[in-house]
Structure formats: structure tokens, C-alpha cells
């Protein structure tokens, strides 16, 4: 036996994180009601948009590159990522309420690994979901001028948002331990979406809304997603998108790790 505690051995903790992420994914797949909002809502949205009013694109100021579906798919990716990431928080609160968390805490596991397991699982879900949505978008007639590189970048950005949402809601779960509270938090997704120009270009928003969107980091992420998908810098800045996504991911994960520390110190 090594003298170094298991918690302090990176190789061991990497295995722990992978095992916890695997478990999170397996359970999430089996919990159909968790998947439905994350998958169905954005797909319905895509379908509605594809079949119905695409009048928006005739408005002045609307970007011309790509089809309308190709434009809104960025919003759909963002929405799916937020919803999928939120289920991580709900699942964590469920673990706390149901006592599964005690099993993790009683094991010689670094407290941050427990958080990272959830975040990593959400990165995977976010990426898988992004691939699915982009494929559906293709079926409905979107085209991605950014090519493989652009699509990959969009997938990565989406995954980062899902991971960030997992970190943020995980922090809430760790603070409150309440599934109920996490469920009530669900509408926040729409506030976040509508204060980011998820489905319309920023220029079309009212001046007040326009001002608000500037303070929502998701604005830059969704614009970055569009920019890489359509290889069009007029739609947004990929660098700003990645910077914001990375900031959100690390910030939210740090929040969750701090919440974990507060929870175990105050036990």
C-alpha cells in the first residue's frame, strides 16, 4: 500500500471520475423522464420552426448566411445543453435525498471527484445531444458551411455549456440537497435563453433587451456556435464564444466544488 492517500493520487481519482460519470450516464439513460425535456423540447422547437413561420428571416438585419433552421439550431443546442446540464443537478439532489451520496462520502474519494464525475457526464451528454440535434437539423434542411471543424467546435461549445449547467445546478443541489428546489429552478433555463439571443439575432431585439443580452455570457456562446457552424464571423466571435464557455464551465465547476466543501465541512 502506498503512503499517499487514495484521494491524492491523480490516476486513482481519474478512475473514480470516469466510474462516477459512467454511473451518471447509465442512470440518466434509464430515467426516461429526465431525458425527455432535454431531447424533446429542442427537437419540437426545431420541427415547429422548420415547418412554420420562417418569416423572421425576411426581417431586415437578419443574417443571410445559412437557412433559418441553420440559424436557430444554435439556440436549440444551447437550450438542450442547459436542460441536460440541469438534470445533473437534479440527479445530484436525488442522490443526496436518497442517501446514495453517503456512500460516496464514506469512501476514500476526493470530494472534487464527486463533482467532476457529474460534470464529465454532462459534457458527454451535451456532446452526444449536439451531434443528434445537428443531424436532425441536416434532415430539416440546415447546412453547415463550417464543415467538420465547425461542427466539432459547435459540439465542444455545447458540451461546455452542458458541463457548466451541471456545475451550477450541482452547486445548488449541494447547497440545498433538495430535488424540489432544483425542479423549481427549471424556468431559469428560459430566462437564460431569452436573455441570450438564442433564436433571433441580437440586432432584432429591442434596445432594452439588447442591453440585457450583453451581460449574458450565453449570448457570446450561442453567437460563437453560429459563427463556427456557418463559418461566418458576422454571426459572432468563436474566440469570445470559447472564452465565455470556458469561463462558465470552470466558474460553475469551482462553485460546485466550493459548495461540496461547505457541505462536508458543515456536516
Amino acid at each position: 500500500m502506498s503512503a499517499v492517500a487514495l484521494e491524492r493520487r491523480p490516476a486513482v481519482q481519474a478512475r473514480v471520475i470516469v466510474a462516477l460519470a459512467q454511473r451518471a450516464l447509465a442512470v440518466q439513460l434509464r430515467r426516461a423522464q429526465f431525458l425527455i425535456p432535454a431531447l424533446v423540447l429542442p427537437l419540437v422547437l426545431l420541427a415547429v420552426i422548420a415547418s412554420g413561420t420562417s418569416a423572421g428571416r425576411n426581417l431586415p438585419g437578419f443574417p443571410t448566411s445559412g437557412s433559418y433552421i441553420g440559424f436557430v439550431i444554435g439556440g436549440a443546442l444551447l437550450q438542450g445543453a442547459l436542460l441536460a446540464g440541469m438534470t445533473a443537478g437534479t440527479a445530484m439532489a436525488g442522490d443526496i435525498e436518497g442517501g446514495f451520496f453517503d456512500r460516496l462520502l464514506a469512501a476514500p474519494v476526493h470530494r472534487a471527484s464527486i463533482v467532476l464525475g457529474r460534470v464529465v457526464a454532462s459534457l458527454v451528454v451535451g456532446a452526444a445531444q449536439a451531434c443528434l440535434f445537428l443531424a436532425v437539423g441536416l434532415i430539416f434542411g440546415a447546412d453547415y458551411a463550417g464543415g467538420v471543424l465547425g461542427v466539432t467546435a459547435a459540439v465542444v461549445l455545447t458540451a461546455m455549456v452542458a458541463g457548466a449547467a451541471a456545475g451550477a445546478t450541482g452547486a445548488l443541489a449541494l447547497r440545498t440537497g433538495s430535488v424540489e428546489l432544483l425542479r423549481n429552478f427549471f424556468p431559469m433555463v428560459f430566462v437564460l435563453l431569452f436573455t441570450a439571443p438564442a433564436f433571433f439575432p441580437r440586432q432584432l431585439l429591442s434596445p432594452a433587451m439588447h442591453a440585457v443580452t450583453r451581460f449574458n455570457p450565453l449570448t457570446y456562446v450561442v453567437e460563437g456556435i453560429r459563427a463556427v457552424l456557418h463559418d461566418d464571423r458576422a454571426l459572432g466571435s468563436p474566440a469570445a464564444g470559447f472564452a465565455c464557455a470556458a469561463g462558465l464551465l470552470t466558474g460553475a465547476t469551482a462553485l460546485a466544488v466550493l459548495a461540496m466543501r461547505a457541505r462536508t465541512r458543515g456536516a
Binding site: 492517500a5 487514495l6 484521494e7 493520487r9 486513482v12 478512475r15 473514480v16 470516469v18 466510474a19 462516477l20 454511473r23 447509465a26 442512470v27 434509464r30 430515467r31 442522490d95 436518497g98 442517501g99 446514495f100 451520496f101 453517503d102 456512500r103 460516496l104 462520502l105 464514506a106 469512501a107 476514500p108 474519494v109 465541512r265 456536516a267
Partner: protein
């Protein structure tokens, strides 16, 4: 700064206190469990058993006092404690959507095992607790007994030196209970120290080398089961009279044998160190007084009597349905 003065697989608790907002759940507990012992922690609902277990397994911090488990302080050496112990909590912390096999492998990973090691250890334990056939079923479909067995298997993944079992047989049928007892004895025979809480007196009589009786957060008594019984002054005789109207006369006549109390259904109970040997003299004395005896029975004291004597109430109240 792990305390080293204790042995590797023992438990030392000093002045342990735990408050929950306004409630003192554990109120100055001192105890010591030697390596290789089975220690029974016996107490009614709300006595503070689970709170103590949660402190000893690093899940809760003590409000005051200290505890050393397997040579590590539960606060400053929590990591060492976690590595050395196995825990089966009262509410088996299982995820209903996982299968038994998956959970065992996850538990192995949590204890630092590599994928292949975790899988092998999982198979070994599935066999040990007889869950091979159910290994790929979701835990939601497991019976109470199966869950307990799996929970025990999970607690054994890291071959713990100290095993904590919080009410491991509550809700089990007699056969499952006996099977679990066998397993605990076997683990103990292999050198595992066991700290076991229970509300069942029979359980500690069956398993424990020493017993601590906890009531309202305090240790009310401690000792081997037989030491505790001795404190009651030996066995008692239950005497049923033909004519209940003569109970007071009988009581006066029997006073010299030992403390004499009323039995709930009528009749008397005389506690006497003589036990069965006192039957003949008791009957003779009553006969000489002209009091007809219906029946005499020897009642060996149970821990329940100890409990009643020490705490003023029974260990398990009639309404108990945990």
C-alpha cells in the same frame, strides 16, 4: 495527525457530543472497542445510534469530543478512516436504477481498484452474499433481504478492518436474520472488528462480545451480555396464584427470597439469585401459608430486563414499526 495510540482496527470514543439544531442527539459517549471484537450498540428509536455511526464513519462531524477509528482521528484523519472501514448504513444507500453488479464495481472504483480488480472483487462478493442470479437486475426489484445482503457486500469491497452495520437486520425475516448473523460471525472470525447497532436484544446476545446500551444519547450501561444480566441479580421466578386476592399475603411471605414485583397479568415475580433452585422453597413457604400456587416458572433475565432496569423503559416499545 492520526492518533496512533490505538490499535489498527479498534475504536476509541471520548466525550462524543453531537447537536442537531437544538437537539442533542449524542450526549457525551465514551466507548472503546478492541480489535477483533463484535460490539453491540443497543438502543431504542432516537437513542443516537445512527448519529454515532455517522460520526465514526466520517459522515458527520462531532460537536465535541473525539473518536479514533482504525488508528485515525475521524476528523483530522478522515481519509485514513474511510480507507480502513466498511459501512452499511441504516437506510441502505442504493440507487434503484443501478444493478447489483454495477454498484459493486462502482464501489470498487471508489476504493481505488482498477477496472478488472473491481470486477473480480464484485463477482467474489456477489457469490458470497448469494446474489449472482440477481446481479444484473435493477435494485428497485430487490427484496429487503437482498438489499441488505448487497449493502453488506458493498461494505466489504475494500476488505475493511472495521465494519459498521447500522441495524443490519431490521425488517428481515428470521431466516435472513440468521444468515446475516452467520456472515457477521464469519467476518469476525477472519479478524474484522464489527460495530453493530440494533434494537434487538436477541441480536446482541447472539453476536456481541460486548454491549453498550445507549439511551437518549448516553451510554446507560456497558459490558458483556452476561455481565449486564448479572447486574439484575440473577434470574426471577414467575408465580401464578390460584386466588389473586391473596397476592399481598404471598408478597409478604416471599420477601425473604428477593425483590418481589407484580406481573402484568396478575401474580408475582420474585428476583432471586437461586433461580430454579428456589422453586421448592418458594412453593413450600406459600404452602405453609395456605396460599395455593397455580404455576411457577423460571424466567432467565434478558437484556430487555437490563434495559428496563437501566432506562426505565423497554428497548422496543410495542408500537415500534421502523
Amino acid at each position: 495527525m492520526a492518533a496512533i495510540e490505538t490499535s489498527d482496527s479498534s475504536i476509541l470514543v471520548e466525550g462524543l457530543v453531537r447537536d442537531y439544531a437544538g437537539v442533542r442527539a449524542v450526549d457525551g459517549v465514551d466507548l472503546e472497542v478492541a480489535a477483533g471484537e463484535i460490539y453491540g450498540f443497543l438502543g431504542p428509536n432516537g437513542a443516537g445510534k445512527s448519529t454515532t455511526v455517522r460520526i465514526l464513519t466520517t459522515l458527520l462531524r462531532p460537536t465535541a469530543g473525539r473518536a479514533v477509528v482504525a488508528g485515525h482521528d475521524v476528523v483530522s484523519g478522515a481519509s485514513g478512516v474511510r480507507r480502513a472501514i466498511g459501512v452499511a448504513l441504516q437506510e441502505a444507500s442504493l440507487d434503484p436504477l443501478m444493478t447489483g453488479r454495477e454498484l459493486l464495481r462502482l464501489q470498487g472504483a471508489l476504493h481505488g481498484l482498477r477496472r478488472r480488480e473491481a470486477a473480480a472483487r464484485g463477482e467474489e462478493l456477489l457469490e458470497r452474499v448469494d446474489l449472482v442470479a440477481a446481479a444484473d437486475r435493477r435494485l428497485a426489484t430487490y427484496s429487503g433481504g437482498m438489499r441488505r445482503r448487497l449493502d453488506l457486500a458493498l461494505a466489504l469491497v475494500n476488505r475493511p478492518r472495521v465494519l459498521f452495520l447500522d441495524e443490519p437486520t431490521t425488517g428481515l425475516d428470521p431466516a435472513s436474520r440468521a444468515a446475516l448473523w452467520r456472515e457477521v460471525r464469519a467476518l469476525n472470525a477472519d479478524g474484522t472488528t464489527v460495530f453493530l447497532t440494533t434494537q434487538y436484544l436477541e441480536e446482541v446476545e447472539q453476536l456481541a462480545g460486548r454491549v453498550g446500551i445507549i439511551d437518549q444519547g448516553r451510554i446507560a450501561a456497558e459490558g458483556t451480555p452476561s455481565e449486564l444480566k448479572e447486574r439484575l441479580g440473577g434470574p426471577a421466578l414467575h408465580i401464578d396464584l390460584v386466588d389473586l386476592g391473596r397476592t399481598e399475603e404471598a408478597r409478604a411471605a416471599l420477601a425473604r427470597f428477593g425483590p418481589c414485583t407484580d406481573r402484568p397479568g396478575g401474580g408475582l415475580r420474585v428476583r432471586t439469585p437461586e433461580g430454579a433452585r428456589a422453586i421448592a422453597p418458594v412453593v413450600r413457604v406459600l404452602d405453609e401459608a395456605g396460599i395455593a400456587v397455580d404455576a411457577v416458572e423460571v424466567d432467565l433475565p434478558s437484556l430487555d430486563d437490563v434495559f428496563l432496569a437501566l432506562t426505565g423503559h423497554r428497548a422496543v416499545e410495542e408500537d415500534a414499526e421502523a
